[in-house]
Symmetry: C2
Subunit: 504 residues, 2 copies
Amino acid sequence: MTAHEAYESLKQHAREVAIIDSCSGLLGWDERTYMPRRGSQFRAEQLGYLAGLRHEKFTSPQFGELLATAESDGFQDQPESVEAVNLREWRREYDLATKLPKSLVEEITRETTIAQGVWVEARKKDDFQSFLPNLETVIGLTKQMADAYGWEGERYNALLDQYEPGAKTEEVAEVFTVLRKELVTLLGKIKDAPRKPNTKIVEQAFDVEKQRVFGEMVCRAIGFDFSAGRLDITTHPFCSGFGIGDTRITTRYNPNRLNDALFGTMHEAGHALYEMGIKKEDHFGTPMGESVSLGIHESQSRMWENQVGRSKEFWTYFFPMAQGIFRDALSDVALDDFYAAINDVRPSYIRVEADEATYNLHILLRFELERAMMRDEIATKDLAGEWRKRFEEYLGIPVDNDRQGVLQDVHWSAGLIGYFPTYSLGNLYAAQFFAKAEADLPNLKAGFAHGNFEHLLTWLRENIHVHGRRYRATELAQRVTGKELSPQPLIDSLNTKFGAIYGF
Amino acid sequence: MTAHEAYESLKQHAREVAIIDSCSGLLGWDERTYMPRRGSQFRAEQLGYLAGLRHEKFTSPQFGELLATAESDGFQDQPESVEAVNLREWRREYDLATKLPKSLVEEITRETTIAQGVWVEARKKDDFQSFLPNLETVIGLTKQMADAYGWEGERYNALLDQYEPGAKTEEVAEVFTVLRKELVTLLGKIKDAPRKPNTKIVEQAFDVEKQRVFGEMVCRAIGFDFSAGRLDITTHPFCSGFGIGDTRITTRYNPNRLNDALFGTMHEAGHALYEMGIKKEDHFGTPMGESVSLGIHESQSRMWENQVGRSKEFWTYFFPMAQGIFRDALSDVALDDFYAAINDVRPSYIRVEADEATYNLHILLRFELERAMMRDEIATKDLAGEWRKRFEEYLGIPVDNDRQGVLQDVHWSAGLIGYFPTYSLGNLYAAQFFAKAEADLPNLKAGFAHGNFEHLLTWLRENIHVHGRRYRATELAQRVTGKELSPQPLIDSLNTKFGAIYGF
């Protein structure tokens, strides 16, 4: 078999794996949207079967042999070619999938399932101690996993690399430290600011059906294609793509607050626009038909949510329509007051409810703690205390209980260490990409005020989406913006924006 | 390997096949309910992949060997035992799946796909001639398929047996002939009857959302468990079960007629009650966890639709509620007039819109024609003419065009010959089972008038559902009712009912 034949065979093989994944994707979507309650046990069996099937197919010795044969060719002479990119990424995924001993995978699956159950109860009862033994087990297994993957520099690199391929903990930490200091300063200025938004404006009764209509109108305006997607309701909003021509998002409606569903919808629509922009017709089933990383994915969702949806220009266009739809609530409100209200900043305990300015502090805290655990600088038993100490230091409010503190997220019980930083990387990349888009397209924001979002989408398609997984995140940022990942664009944009709103 | 070990291995094997089928089931449900338009091409690829996977698993030589080993044991000494039943049915399915040469399967798939496309256009243009060449090809391939399966008596037996295992064409034809004559006579009496229902009562504006509320209330009352099922909207209503604890039905709403959605919903709910009643927790993935045949499945849907939903007692209970919900339309209507209106009989052209009395004539016509084609007694080219002739003879109205005649159903273009009779077998079994239930439970119908549908459901569960595929349909009828399949219960019940309504 020639290298080219092996490559074609790998493509076929990988497409099968991707089809299996797309079936799991639909089953998972249905589980969260429409499945009747009593179907859940059997659904777990279906998903388990498909997961086993995909693992078996992807880690088969045959796949490994094909990969070795294909790699023997000179594809790598042109490292940006479709073939070289796909082989590079298949190699990475194959090694990741085959490096862990089966016994460790099974132990992790078993222990994280147990730990999640214990975590649910512990959070309910605000009892960190009852969760501690399980958390210690999971942390221990995570270290074993990182060591089995192998790492350079520090152990956390192996974990971060799962979600953000190629990212280096040391570099990320450097950027995050600058960001943290600047955000704490910004928060201080906001606290002492002379002006305060009137948040009552967005905290009124907003009819859910009207919210849905408005949200769908916004989605369509920014480029979400409803003939290739859907918007449904779930407790925890998400975006899920099922192969070609079918990308679905969900949201949840708060009948007494406008922000939640609207910005949640725009966030998920941002993820969807990325999925819709990747050239899946050509590359489905191969890395070239997939997204770069969680961080880059999040940069797309955050950009549409924050840089677009929370901008003055966006509302210059949409506020009159919102006034027409939500007449009782908004008829007598001025645009400036509305704009300030949706951008209100105030420290709060729960990450997923945090605003644009404080959100990253929640993440940086988690990153610091999990990194320190992996470096054995913090013992798991000291985690709750360490959380309270740093939280008050960064956010300026004391943590009264662990339910609103260290117990709030599912991630650690599920063994997802190294995942949190991708949220802030997303915010950083979003700001950095958007600054470049503004430089490339001088009338970009002015266009928002006239309902033109196409220029931004086209720019994103051409600069980011079309490449699939051709470049790693850091390399993509360098190529697109001409600069390494930097905290400055985000810091600058937040200071400018909130300076104007809060008058400092 | 012992026979018992082989049996256990078969069970595991069959469960995998059933899980794959359940994934296909959900993908198919989603395709018809919520999938965005542009996802259809990829959905076909997903379904094709899963179909290939299930075929490969089920027809593997390994499955054949396990089957032979398991059969070597004395399971068959107790032919009603779970093991004997499962082995009997696996053997039947395995032989069916492996008897056709691959080339023939591929040719049928290809030609029926083409034929369906041509049929859609031919129906649109009312042009039977343009469809004829494709129909001839499909009919020819169907004969080849029947011959490859093998048959005794006549060729049609091999086709009927696919959908109604064990049914004999000759016996079915005998029952159908009696039924046809009686129905033509009944139709004549109705035509000359002194009283006519006022159909305007059900042909008014009925708010769709209220119809949905009423329909769900009815479903719940007859035993549909919404914690293990759903009701959604599709163009063509259907029922689909996805393994354990998840059985979904669909309906469509006509805003200007009450009957369509309501009886359609009850029909599908009847299918669902059967699926929910089979002991899948114990037998999922094996024939004991599956339904007997299409005919028996249809008997359950028809019974809830006709014997229950179109009965006077049902409406004694539900009409006051319907009046409360549809106040504008029904406030001033008397129960007797409403009951007559929902039971209106009039010959019409389209099978799926036919009423309880004329429906079977549509089926018997199709059965006669397809049987005659398989016996080479009618040439395909004469089909349209033969249709018109017999239709007018049975239904008493002339067929003006083939769109409302021979071109109306998808079945023949899809190669589904032998499928139609199961609809009428369902109606016959429904009447025969219901007559026995009434004999066993003397207050059965009186109970309907007080909202008690549980006695009937329990009777069906105990006599039919619980057995899975233990008995073939004819055997089940014999065991439950003490009689062979007979046209008499259906004929008697229709004569009694319509005699009362039409006054003859």
